[in-house]
Symmetry: C2
Subunit: 243 residues, 2 copies
Protein backbone atom coordinates (compact mmCIF):
# COMPACT_ATOMS: atom_id res chain seq x y z
CA UNK A 1 0.00 0.00 0.00
CA UNK A 2 1.37 3.41 -0.94
CA UNK A 3 1.44 6.07 1.65
CA UNK A 4 -0.45 9.09 0.36
CA UNK A 5 1.71 12.17 0.12
CA UNK A 6 0.48 14.82 2.50
CA UNK A 7 0.73 17.56 -0.10
CA UNK A 8 -1.62 15.73 -2.49
CA UNK A 9 -4.35 15.08 0.10
CA UNK A 10 -7.48 16.78 -1.28
CA UNK A 11 -8.23 18.75 1.86
CA UNK A 12 -10.28 21.11 -0.26
CA UNK A 13 -13.06 18.60 -1.05
CA UNK A 14 -14.93 19.99 1.96
CA UNK A 15 -17.07 16.91 2.43
CA UNK A 16 -18.25 18.35 5.74
CA UNK A 17 -20.05 21.11 3.85
CA UNK A 18 -21.92 18.61 1.67
CA UNK A 19 -24.98 16.49 2.40
CA UNK A 20 -25.13 12.76 1.77
CA UNK A 21 -26.79 13.11 -1.64
CA UNK A 22 -23.84 15.12 -2.94
CA UNK A 23 -21.00 13.43 -1.07
CA UNK A 24 -22.12 9.90 -1.92
CA UNK A 25 -21.63 10.67 -5.60
CA UNK A 26 -18.03 9.58 -4.99
CA UNK A 27 -18.24 5.76 -4.83
CA UNK A 28 -15.13 5.58 -2.60
CA UNK A 29 -16.75 7.91 -0.09
CA UNK A 30 -20.02 5.99 -0.25
CA UNK A 31 -18.25 2.66 0.39
CA UNK A 32 -16.28 4.14 3.29
CA UNK A 33 -19.38 5.53 5.00
CA UNK A 34 -21.24 2.23 4.61
CA UNK A 35 -18.24 0.53 6.22
CA UNK A 36 -18.30 3.05 9.03
CA UNK A 37 -22.04 2.66 9.65
CA UNK A 38 -21.72 -1.13 9.48
CA UNK A 39 -18.92 -1.08 12.07
CA UNK A 40 -20.86 1.28 14.32
CA UNK A 41 -24.08 -0.75 13.97
CA UNK A 42 -22.37 -4.00 14.87
CA UNK A 43 -20.62 -2.22 17.73
CA UNK A 44 -23.97 -1.08 19.13
CA UNK A 45 -25.47 -4.55 18.82
CA UNK A 46 -22.42 -6.02 20.55
CA UNK A 47 -22.69 -3.33 23.24
CA UNK A 48 -26.31 -4.33 23.75
CA UNK A 49 -25.23 -7.94 24.27
CA UNK A 50 -22.35 -7.04 26.51
CA UNK A 51 -24.43 -4.81 28.78
CA UNK A 52 -27.22 -7.38 28.95
CA UNK A 53 -24.60 -9.95 29.91
CA UNK A 54 -23.09 -7.64 32.54
CA UNK A 55 -26.59 -7.07 33.95
CA UNK A 56 -26.42 -10.68 35.15
CA UNK A 57 -23.41 -9.80 37.31
CA UNK A 58 -25.17 -6.86 38.94
CA UNK A 59 -25.06 -7.02 42.74
CA UNK A 60 -28.55 -5.56 43.19
CA UNK A 61 -31.82 -5.55 41.32
CA UNK A 62 -31.62 -1.82 40.76
CA UNK A 63 -28.09 -2.07 39.30
CA UNK A 64 -29.43 -4.80 37.04
CA UNK A 65 -32.25 -2.56 35.88
CA UNK A 66 -29.76 0.29 35.22
CA UNK A 67 -27.65 -1.90 32.98
CA UNK A 68 -30.68 -3.26 31.19
CA UNK A 69 -31.78 0.34 30.51
CA UNK A 70 -28.38 1.11 28.98
CA UNK A 71 -28.49 -2.04 26.87
CA UNK A 72 -31.90 -0.93 25.61
CA UNK A 73 -30.51 2.49 24.68
CA UNK A 74 -27.73 0.80 22.70
CA UNK A 75 -30.28 -1.29 20.86
CA UNK A 76 -32.15 1.85 19.80
CA UNK A 77 -28.89 3.26 18.43
CA UNK A 78 -28.33 0.03 16.54
CA UNK A 79 -31.83 0.27 15.05
CA UNK A 80 -31.17 3.84 13.84
CA UNK A 81 -27.96 2.78 12.10
CA UNK A 82 -29.54 -0.29 10.56
CA UNK A 83 -32.43 1.81 9.25
CA UNK A 84 -30.01 4.33 7.77
CA UNK A 85 -28.09 1.56 6.01
CA UNK A 86 -31.36 0.32 4.50
CA UNK A 87 -32.34 3.87 3.56
CA UNK A 88 -29.14 4.31 1.52
CA UNK A 89 -29.74 0.93 -0.19
CA UNK A 90 -27.06 -0.95 1.69
CA UNK A 91 -27.87 -4.38 3.10
CA UNK A 92 -27.38 -3.91 6.89
CA UNK A 93 -26.21 -7.48 7.54
CA UNK A 94 -23.68 -7.35 4.72
CA UNK A 95 -22.41 -3.99 5.98
CA UNK A 96 -22.03 -5.28 9.55
CA UNK A 97 -20.60 -8.71 8.85
CA UNK A 98 -16.97 -7.69 8.19
CA UNK A 99 -16.81 -6.23 11.69
CA UNK A 100 -18.43 -9.11 13.54
CA UNK A 101 -15.27 -11.21 13.90
CA UNK A 102 -12.90 -8.49 15.20
CA UNK A 103 -15.55 -7.18 17.62
CA UNK A 104 -16.56 -10.65 18.79
CA UNK A 105 -12.91 -11.54 19.25
CA UNK A 106 -12.34 -8.40 21.26
CA UNK A 107 -15.27 -9.21 23.52
CA UNK A 108 -14.25 -12.85 23.89
CA UNK A 109 -10.68 -11.94 24.80
CA UNK A 110 -11.84 -9.37 27.32
CA UNK A 111 -14.73 -11.11 29.03
CA UNK A 112 -15.02 -9.44 32.44
CA UNK A 113 -14.70 -11.78 35.39
CA UNK A 114 -16.83 -9.67 37.71
CA UNK A 115 -19.18 -6.71 37.96
CA UNK A 116 -16.44 -4.07 38.36
CA UNK A 117 -14.40 -5.35 35.42
CA UNK A 118 -17.60 -5.21 33.35
CA UNK A 119 -18.22 -1.60 34.36
CA UNK A 120 -14.64 -0.56 33.59
CA UNK A 121 -14.76 -2.32 30.24
CA UNK A 122 -18.03 -0.72 29.20
CA UNK A 123 -16.79 2.68 30.29
CA UNK A 124 -13.37 2.41 28.62
CA UNK A 125 -14.76 0.82 25.47
CA UNK A 126 -17.62 3.28 25.02
CA UNK A 127 -15.38 6.26 25.69
CA UNK A 128 -12.69 5.26 23.21
CA UNK A 129 -15.23 4.34 20.54
CA UNK A 130 -17.05 7.57 21.16
CA UNK A 131 -13.86 9.67 20.89
CA UNK A 132 -12.93 7.94 17.66
CA UNK A 133 -16.35 8.37 16.03
CA UNK A 134 -16.54 12.01 17.08
CA UNK A 135 -13.18 12.69 15.42
CA UNK A 136 -14.32 10.97 12.25
CA UNK A 137 -17.81 12.52 12.33
CA UNK A 138 -16.38 16.03 12.07
CA UNK A 139 -15.04 15.08 8.64
CA UNK A 140 -18.19 13.49 7.23
CA UNK A 141 -21.08 14.84 5.20
CA UNK A 142 -23.73 16.66 7.25
CA UNK A 143 -26.37 13.86 7.20
CA UNK A 144 -23.98 11.11 8.25
CA UNK A 145 -22.39 13.38 10.84
CA UNK A 146 -25.75 14.12 12.45
CA UNK A 147 -26.62 10.41 12.65
CA UNK A 148 -23.23 9.40 14.06
CA UNK A 149 -23.32 12.11 16.71
CA UNK A 150 -26.87 11.21 17.72
CA UNK A 151 -26.01 7.56 18.38
CA UNK A 152 -23.01 8.62 20.45
CA UNK A 153 -25.31 10.37 22.90
CA UNK A 154 -24.36 9.33 26.38
CA UNK A 155 -26.52 6.44 27.52
CA UNK A 156 -25.84 7.42 31.12
CA UNK A 157 -23.30 4.66 31.46
CA UNK A 158 -20.27 6.83 32.05
CA UNK A 159 -21.42 8.54 35.23
CA UNK A 160 -22.94 5.32 36.54
CA UNK A 161 -19.69 3.39 36.00
CA UNK A 162 -17.49 6.14 37.42
CA UNK A 163 -19.57 6.40 40.56
CA UNK A 164 -19.64 2.63 41.20
CA UNK A 165 -15.96 2.06 40.46
CA UNK A 166 -14.78 4.97 42.58
CA UNK A 167 -16.89 3.76 45.49
CA UNK A 168 -15.45 0.26 45.19
CA UNK A 169 -11.88 1.56 45.16
CA UNK A 170 -12.57 3.78 48.16
CA UNK A 171 -13.97 0.83 50.05
CA UNK A 172 -11.03 -1.38 49.11
CA UNK A 173 -8.01 0.40 47.58
CA UNK A 174 -6.39 -2.86 46.41
CA UNK A 175 -9.17 -3.17 43.84
CA UNK A 176 -7.67 -0.15 42.05
CA UNK A 177 -4.47 -1.97 41.10
CA UNK A 178 -6.31 -4.89 39.60
CA UNK A 179 -8.67 -2.64 37.63
CA UNK A 180 -5.80 -0.48 36.35
CA UNK A 181 -4.15 -3.57 34.86
CA UNK A 182 -7.47 -4.59 33.40
CA UNK A 183 -7.97 -1.18 31.74
CA UNK A 184 -4.49 -1.41 30.22
CA UNK A 185 -5.25 -4.83 28.81
CA UNK A 186 -8.51 -3.53 27.32
CA UNK A 187 -6.73 -0.66 25.59
CA UNK A 188 -4.13 -3.06 24.17
CA UNK A 189 -6.76 -5.46 22.81
CA UNK A 190 -8.81 -2.61 21.38
CA UNK A 191 -5.82 -1.22 19.50
CA UNK A 192 -4.85 -4.63 18.16
CA UNK A 193 -8.38 -5.28 16.82
CA UNK A 194 -8.53 -1.76 15.38
CA UNK A 195 -5.30 -2.39 13.46
CA UNK A 196 -6.79 -5.59 12.09
CA UNK A 197 -9.87 -3.71 10.86
CA UNK A 198 -7.74 -1.03 9.23
CA UNK A 199 -5.63 -3.69 7.50
CA UNK A 200 -8.69 -5.60 6.25
CA UNK A 201 -11.05 -2.82 5.23
CA UNK A 202 -9.65 -0.85 2.34
CA UNK A 203 -12.64 1.47 1.96
CA UNK A 204 -12.55 2.53 5.58
CA UNK A 205 -8.80 2.97 5.81
CA UNK A 206 -8.68 4.83 2.52
CA UNK A 207 -11.13 7.29 4.04
CA UNK A 208 -9.11 7.56 7.22
CA UNK A 209 -5.70 8.10 5.67
CA UNK A 210 -6.39 8.57 1.98
CA UNK A 211 -8.10 11.91 2.00
CA UNK A 212 -11.50 10.67 0.80
CA UNK A 213 -13.11 12.52 3.69
CA UNK A 214 -11.95 15.94 4.89
CA UNK A 215 -8.57 16.66 6.29
CA UNK A 216 -7.29 13.26 7.34
CA UNK A 217 -3.78 12.25 6.48
CA UNK A 218 -1.32 9.93 8.17
CA UNK A 219 0.06 12.63 10.44
CA UNK A 220 -3.43 13.67 11.48
CA UNK A 221 -4.40 10.06 12.21
CA UNK A 222 -1.34 9.84 14.44
CA UNK A 223 -2.42 12.99 16.29
CA UNK A 224 -5.94 11.59 16.61
CA UNK A 225 -4.64 8.43 18.28
CA UNK A 226 -2.56 10.58 20.62
CA UNK A 227 -5.63 12.63 21.57
CA UNK A 228 -7.69 9.46 22.16
CA UNK A 229 -4.94 7.91 24.30
CA UNK A 230 -4.58 11.09 26.34
CA UNK A 231 -8.30 11.27 26.93
CA UNK A 232 -8.21 7.63 28.06
CA UNK A 233 -5.40 8.42 30.53
CA UNK A 234 -7.41 11.32 31.95
CA UNK A 235 -10.52 9.19 32.33
CA UNK A 236 -8.57 6.48 34.12
CA UNK A 237 -7.20 9.06 36.54
CA UNK A 238 -10.73 10.33 37.17
CA UNK A 239 -11.72 6.75 37.98
CA UNK A 240 -8.91 6.55 40.49
CA UNK A 241 -6.83 4.27 38.24
CA UNK A 242 -3.34 4.84 36.89
CA UNK A 243 -3.48 4.14 33.14
CA UNK B 1 -55.17 -22.61 55.17
CA UNK B 2 -58.96 -22.70 55.04
CA UNK B 3 -60.63 -23.21 51.74
CA UNK B 4 -63.01 -20.33 51.14
CA UNK B 5 -66.58 -21.45 50.71
CA UNK B 6 -67.79 -20.66 47.23
CA UNK B 7 -71.08 -19.24 48.48
CA UNK B 8 -69.29 -16.66 50.66
CA UNK B 9 -66.99 -15.34 47.91
CA UNK B 10 -67.78 -11.61 47.63
CA UNK B 11 -68.37 -11.69 43.88
CA UNK B 12 -70.36 -8.51 44.28
CA UNK B 13 -67.34 -6.33 45.16
CA UNK B 14 -67.10 -5.55 41.44
CA UNK B 15 -63.49 -4.49 41.65
CA UNK B 16 -63.40 -4.44 37.86
CA UNK B 17 -65.78 -1.50 37.88
CA UNK B 18 -63.56 0.49 40.25
CA UNK B 19 -60.41 2.48 39.59
CA UNK B 20 -57.19 2.07 41.56
CA UNK B 21 -57.94 4.97 43.91
CA UNK B 22 -61.12 3.28 45.11
CA UNK B 23 -60.07 -0.36 44.95
CA UNK B 24 -56.77 0.21 46.77
CA UNK B 25 -58.71 1.38 49.81
CA UNK B 26 -58.77 -2.30 50.77
CA UNK B 27 -55.25 -2.99 52.06
CA UNK B 28 -55.49 -6.68 51.10
CA UNK B 29 -56.29 -5.72 47.51
CA UNK B 30 -53.49 -3.17 47.46
CA UNK B 31 -50.94 -5.70 48.74
CA UNK B 32 -52.10 -8.28 46.22
CA UNK B 33 -51.77 -5.88 43.26
CA UNK B 34 -48.31 -4.79 44.37
CA UNK B 35 -47.32 -8.45 44.51
CA UNK B 36 -48.75 -8.97 41.05
CA UNK B 37 -46.95 -5.95 39.58
CA UNK B 38 -43.72 -6.99 41.30
CA UNK B 39 -43.96 -10.49 39.85
CA UNK B 40 -44.76 -9.15 36.41
CA UNK B 41 -41.92 -6.57 36.57
CA UNK B 42 -39.34 -9.14 37.56
CA UNK B 43 -40.70 -11.46 34.88
CA UNK B 44 -40.17 -8.78 32.24
CA UNK B 45 -36.65 -8.03 33.46
CA UNK B 46 -35.87 -11.77 33.41
CA UNK B 47 -37.39 -12.01 29.92
CA UNK B 48 -35.11 -9.19 28.81
CA UNK B 49 -32.10 -11.11 30.11
CA UNK B 50 -33.22 -14.41 28.65
CA UNK B 51 -33.86 -12.95 25.18
CA UNK B 52 -30.56 -11.08 25.22
CA UNK B 53 -28.87 -14.34 26.18
CA UNK B 54 -30.69 -16.24 23.42
CA UNK B 55 -29.59 -13.56 20.94
CA UNK B 56 -26.08 -14.94 21.37
CA UNK B 57 -27.25 -18.31 20.02
CA UNK B 58 -28.81 -16.74 16.92
CA UNK B 59 -27.59 -18.37 13.71
CA UNK B 60 -27.60 -15.12 11.73
CA UNK B 61 -27.03 -11.46 12.40
CA UNK B 62 -30.60 -10.62 11.47
CA UNK B 63 -31.97 -13.27 13.88
CA UNK B 64 -29.74 -11.75 16.53
CA UNK B 65 -31.14 -8.29 15.82
CA UNK B 66 -34.72 -9.66 15.99
CA UNK B 67 -34.13 -11.12 19.43
CA UNK B 68 -32.40 -7.98 20.65
CA UNK B 69 -35.45 -5.99 19.49
CA UNK B 70 -37.74 -8.25 21.51
CA UNK B 71 -35.50 -7.98 24.56
CA UNK B 72 -35.69 -4.21 24.24
CA UNK B 73 -39.50 -4.35 24.10
CA UNK B 74 -39.51 -6.42 27.30
CA UNK B 75 -37.31 -3.85 28.98
CA UNK B 76 -39.79 -1.09 28.12
CA UNK B 77 -42.55 -3.19 29.69
CA UNK B 78 -40.42 -3.62 32.78
CA UNK B 79 -39.87 0.16 32.98
CA UNK B 80 -43.64 0.80 32.80
CA UNK B 81 -44.30 -1.60 35.66
CA UNK B 82 -41.46 -0.24 37.77
CA UNK B 83 -42.73 3.30 37.23
CA UNK B 84 -46.25 2.26 38.24
CA UNK B 85 -44.95 0.66 41.42
CA UNK B 86 -43.17 3.90 42.28
CA UNK B 87 -46.28 5.92 41.41
CA UNK B 88 -48.35 3.95 43.94
CA UNK B 89 -45.64 4.43 46.59
CA UNK B 90 -44.33 0.90 46.48
CA UNK B 91 -40.57 0.34 46.38
CA UNK B 92 -40.06 -1.50 43.04
CA UNK B 93 -37.08 -3.54 44.22
CA UNK B 94 -38.88 -4.68 47.36
CA UNK B 95 -41.94 -5.61 45.30
CA UNK B 96 -39.89 -7.62 42.81
CA UNK B 97 -37.51 -9.34 45.19
CA UNK B 98 -39.85 -12.11 46.42
CA UNK B 99 -40.20 -13.34 42.85
CA UNK B 100 -36.53 -13.23 41.91
CA UNK B 101 -35.63 -16.64 43.34
CA UNK B 102 -38.48 -18.68 41.82
CA UNK B 103 -38.04 -17.00 38.42
CA UNK B 104 -34.25 -17.29 38.48
CA UNK B 105 -34.56 -20.93 39.50
CA UNK B 106 -36.97 -21.57 36.67
CA UNK B 107 -34.57 -20.01 34.17
CA UNK B 108 -31.58 -21.83 35.59
CA UNK B 109 -33.33 -25.19 35.47
CA UNK B 110 -34.49 -24.62 31.93
CA UNK B 111 -31.42 -23.08 30.28
CA UNK B 112 -31.83 -23.80 26.56
CA UNK B 113 -28.98 -25.73 25.00
CA UNK B 114 -29.47 -24.30 21.53
CA UNK B 115 -31.26 -21.67 19.46
CA UNK B 116 -34.44 -23.73 18.87
CA UNK B 117 -34.83 -24.65 22.54
CA UNK B 118 -34.47 -20.96 23.33
CA UNK B 119 -37.20 -20.03 20.86
CA UNK B 120 -39.57 -22.72 22.17
CA UNK B 121 -38.93 -21.66 25.73
CA UNK B 122 -39.54 -17.99 25.07
CA UNK B 123 -42.69 -18.81 23.14
CA UNK B 124 -44.10 -21.26 25.68
CA UNK B 125 -43.13 -19.12 28.65
CA UNK B 126 -44.48 -15.87 27.25
CA UNK B 127 -47.71 -17.49 26.14
CA UNK B 128 -48.46 -19.13 29.47
CA UNK B 129 -47.57 -16.00 31.42
CA UNK B 130 -49.64 -13.92 29.07
CA UNK B 131 -52.69 -16.22 29.39
CA UNK B 132 -52.40 -16.15 33.16
CA UNK B 133 -52.09 -12.36 33.41
CA UNK B 134 -54.98 -11.83 30.99
CA UNK B 135 -57.22 -14.02 33.16
CA UNK B 136 -56.22 -12.11 36.26
CA UNK B 137 -56.39 -8.71 34.56
CA UNK B 138 -60.10 -9.11 33.81
CA UNK B 139 -60.70 -9.16 37.56
CA UNK B 140 -58.63 -6.13 38.50
CA UNK B 141 -59.45 -2.45 38.90
CA UNK B 142 -59.57 -0.50 35.64
CA UNK B 143 -56.19 1.27 36.01
CA UNK B 144 -54.22 -1.86 36.90
CA UNK B 145 -56.04 -3.83 34.19
CA UNK B 146 -55.08 -1.30 31.53
CA UNK B 147 -51.42 -1.39 32.56
CA UNK B 148 -51.26 -5.19 32.73
CA UNK B 149 -52.87 -5.59 29.32
CA UNK B 150 -50.56 -3.00 27.77
CA UNK B 151 -47.39 -4.81 28.89
CA UNK B 152 -48.77 -8.08 27.53
CA UNK B 153 -48.82 -6.62 24.04
CA UNK B 154 -47.22 -9.08 21.71
CA UNK B 155 -43.56 -8.21 21.23
CA UNK B 156 -43.62 -10.05 17.90
CA UNK B 157 -41.90 -13.02 19.44
CA UNK B 158 -44.72 -15.51 18.95
CA UNK B 159 -44.92 -15.37 15.16
CA UNK B 160 -41.14 -15.22 14.85
CA UNK B 161 -40.68 -18.32 17.03
CA UNK B 162 -43.48 -20.27 15.35
CA UNK B 163 -42.08 -19.58 11.90
CA UNK B 164 -38.51 -20.57 12.80
CA UNK B 165 -39.44 -23.69 14.77
CA UNK B 166 -41.84 -24.97 12.09
CA UNK B 167 -39.20 -24.47 9.42
CA UNK B 168 -36.64 -26.39 11.50
CA UNK B 169 -39.03 -29.31 12.04
CA UNK B 170 -39.90 -29.41 8.35
CA UNK B 171 -36.23 -29.50 7.47
CA UNK B 172 -35.54 -32.24 10.02
CA UNK B 173 -38.60 -33.96 11.51
CA UNK B 174 -36.58 -35.63 14.30
CA UNK B 175 -36.11 -32.21 15.85
CA UNK B 176 -39.85 -32.20 16.65
CA UNK B 177 -39.58 -35.08 19.14
CA UNK B 178 -36.79 -33.45 21.06
CA UNK B 179 -38.55 -30.09 21.21
CA UNK B 180 -41.84 -31.70 22.29
CA UNK B 181 -40.08 -33.25 25.30
CA UNK B 182 -38.46 -29.91 26.01
CA UNK B 183 -41.82 -28.08 25.96
CA UNK B 184 -43.26 -30.64 28.37
CA UNK B 185 -40.35 -30.13 30.74
CA UNK B 186 -40.83 -26.35 30.58
CA UNK B 187 -44.50 -26.66 31.46
CA UNK B 188 -43.67 -28.94 34.40
CA UNK B 189 -41.03 -26.57 35.77
CA UNK B 190 -43.31 -23.55 35.29
CA UNK B 191 -46.12 -25.21 37.25
CA UNK B 192 -43.80 -26.26 40.05
CA UNK B 193 -42.40 -22.72 40.45
CA UNK B 194 -45.92 -21.26 40.25
CA UNK B 195 -47.00 -23.53 43.12
CA UNK B 196 -44.06 -22.33 45.15
CA UNK B 197 -45.04 -18.69 44.58
CA UNK B 198 -48.65 -19.39 45.54
CA UNK B 199 -47.52 -21.14 48.72
CA UNK B 200 -45.14 -18.31 49.68
CA UNK B 201 -47.12 -15.21 48.78
CA UNK B 202 -50.18 -14.90 50.92
CA UNK B 203 -51.36 -11.59 49.47
CA UNK B 204 -51.27 -12.86 45.92
CA UNK B 205 -52.86 -16.21 46.63
CA UNK B 206 -55.53 -14.65 48.80
CA UNK B 207 -56.46 -12.53 45.82
CA UNK B 208 -56.44 -15.52 43.50
CA UNK B 209 -58.52 -17.85 45.62
CA UNK B 210 -59.82 -15.72 48.44
CA UNK B 211 -62.19 -13.45 46.61
CA UNK B 212 -60.29 -10.20 47.18
CA UNK B 213 -60.56 -9.50 43.47
CA UNK B 214 -63.63 -10.28 41.40
CA UNK B 215 -65.04 -13.70 40.89
CA UNK B 216 -62.12 -15.98 41.70
CA UNK B 217 -62.66 -19.01 43.84
CA UNK B 218 -60.91 -22.35 43.98
CA UNK B 219 -63.17 -23.92 41.37
CA UNK B 220 -62.59 -20.98 39.04
CA UNK B 221 -58.82 -21.16 39.55
CA UNK B 222 -59.03 -24.84 38.58
CA UNK B 223 -60.92 -23.94 35.42
CA UNK B 224 -58.38 -21.21 34.66
CA UNK B 225 -55.51 -23.70 34.85
CA UNK B 226 -57.44 -26.03 32.57
CA UNK B 227 -57.93 -23.24 30.03
CA UNK B 228 -54.25 -22.31 30.17
CA UNK B 229 -53.16 -25.92 29.73
CA UNK B 230 -55.54 -26.40 26.81
CA UNK B 231 -54.25 -23.25 25.13
CA UNK B 232 -50.70 -24.56 25.62
CA UNK B 233 -51.63 -27.87 23.96
CA UNK B 234 -53.13 -26.05 20.99
CA UNK B 235 -50.06 -23.85 20.61
CA UNK B 236 -47.77 -26.86 20.69
CA UNK B 237 -49.86 -28.52 17.97
CA UNK B 238 -49.60 -25.33 15.89
CA UNK B 239 -45.82 -25.52 16.30
CA UNK B 240 -45.87 -29.07 15.02
CA UNK B 241 -45.21 -30.52 18.48
CA UNK B 242 -47.30 -32.97 20.44
CA UNK B 243 -47.74 -31.51 23.95
Amino acid sequence: METPDETTAPASTAIAAQDWATASGDPRYRAAVIDLLGALAYGELAAFERLAEDAKLAPTLSDKAELAAMATAEFHHFAQLRDRLSAVDAEPTAAMEPFATPLDDFHRQTAPSDWLEGLVKAYVGDSIASDFYREVAARLDSDTRELVLSVLDDTGHASFAVEKVRAAIEAEPRVGGRLALWARRLMGEALSQAQRVVADRDALSTMLVGGVADGFDLAEVGRMFTRITEAHTKRMAALGLAA
